[in-house]
């Protein structure tokens, strides 16, 4: 029978599982690295759980822990300024959808392109994109990063332009 702390941790992990996985995908370039980073994030969440007082939303708090962990990870791996995509990653991203429908395959391919473009951004921009994909508000993003909301807006504008350019170049 899990203790109260264990139960709270499991709930937090389950509710934020997709977020953690998305961050792993954005910050780690192969299956082994993603597994490493995922475990590191779980460890940091477990160790920090006692510090969560509910002053911010659970999602904001999880983002702080996970992105700080991912940033440390990227610094250790020397992938702060872009994530080198290897053959394995490309293979994963181009794999056909299990359902095999054309629409889904197309959506997969589009998403693969998007993530490949995101991997070319630097670590700070990747943080913003990750939260933007999760439809977090400017206020939440500012709270996670410790910068102003207007700064978030300016950065996102720049990132959207850069991503747009990259995706256009790729499809041309």
């Amino acid at each position: 029978m899990p203790s109260e702390r264990e139960q709270a941790f499991l709930t937090l992990v389950r509710e934020n599982d997709a977020r953690l996985r998305r961050i792993c995908r954005v910050y780690a370039h192969d299956a082994e690295s993603r597994k490493d980073l995922h475990q590191e994030m779980l460890l940091q969440l477990w160790r920090s759980l006692g510090a969560f007082r509910g002053a911010s939303s659970a999602a904001t708090w999880v983002y702080r822990v996970a992105l700080n962990t991912a940033l440390t990870y990227a610094r250790r791996r020397g992938s702060l300024f872009h994530v080198p995509l290897d053959d394995e990653q490309l293979a994963i991203e181009h794999v056909a959808s299990p359902l095999g429908t054309e629409d889904m395959a197309e959506a997969d391919a589009r998403s693969a392109q998007l993530f490949a473009a995101i991997a070319q951004l630097d670590a700070v921009d990747r943080m913003l994109v990750t939260m933007h994909l999760d439809e977090r508000s400017y206020r939440e993003m500012a709270d996670v990063l410790g910068i102003s909301e207007s700064n978030v807006g300016v950065k996102l504008h720049r990132i959207r332009k850069a991503l747009g350019r990259m995706l256009t170049e790729e499809t041309v």
Binding site: P2, E6, F9, L10, V13, A18, R21, R22, C24, R25, A31, R34, K35, H38, Q39, L42, L43, Q44, L45, W46, R47, S48, A51, F52, W61, R64, V65, L67, N68, T69, L71, T72, R75, L80, I92, S97, M104, A107, D108, S111, A112, L114, F115, D122, V124, M127, H132, L133, D134, E135, S137, Y138, D143, V144, L145, G146, I147, N151, L156, R160
Partner: protein, 195 residues
């Protein structure tokens, strides 16, 4: 506010294995225990090493020629200084490597502060780490050898100077090769957040 692009859920469902509750708990608890053990070991390593040296030196302080006892006392004081400097540096820098619950900019700022403190600590290693031990040991050897064996004392002093130079050079190299690039990286990240 512009809406973010919708990304199909299946694309988030990557190659990470889905763990069961018990597996997750076992994983984090095992890793947390290992992590805490490493931190404890790091915190106590210098204290234990200093304690061992102190036990070996203590008899020389209690008896023998006065100059040798004086040298032993300098070494003991030096060991105390080393333990104090390291304890203070860790206390000021926080116990864990990064407080991951802080906003990213604050966490980076705190780490920058810690790296600057480490640079200061390693940069001044000659004064708080090397000098007291080396000077103390040379005085102790000189006291034990007496005036008759000045050549051996001189040889020991030369060896101690060489060793000191090696330790200082190694620490300066660590600052140059590891800490300064780390500081530059943190400054670049903070500037990137601010821009």
């Amino acid at each position: 506010m512009t809406r973010s692009p919708r990304v199909r859920a299946s694309n988030e469902d990557d190659d990470l294995t889905r763990l069961g509750d018990e597996e997750i708990l076992a994983l984090v608890q095992t890793r947390a225990r290992r992590f805490e053990r490493q931190i404890r070991l790091r915190d106590w390593r210098e204290v234990i090493a200093s304690g061992v040296v102190a036990v070996l030196i203590a008899p020389a302080v209690a008896r023998g020629p006065l100059v040798a006892r004086l040298g032993g006392a300098v070494i003991l004081a030096g060991l105390g200084l080393i333990v104090f400097r390291l304890w203070r540096a860790r206390r000021m820098g926080g116990r864990s490597l990064t407080d991951v619950t802080l906003p990213v900019a604050s966490a980076l700022g705190a780490e920058l502060q810690r790296v600057n403190a480490q640079i200061g600590l390693l940069g001044s290693v000659a004064w708080w780490y090397v000098s007291p031990i080396m000077v103390g040991s040379v005085v102790m050897v000189a006291g034990r050898n007496g005036r008759g064996a000045w050549l051996q004392t001189l040889a020991y002093a030369a060896l101690a100077a060489l060793l000191s130079w090696g330790i200082i050079a190694l620490n300066q190299r660590a600052v140059r090769k590891t800490l300064q690039p780390k500081r530059d990286e943190l400054l670049a990240l903070l500037a990137r957040l601010d821009s």
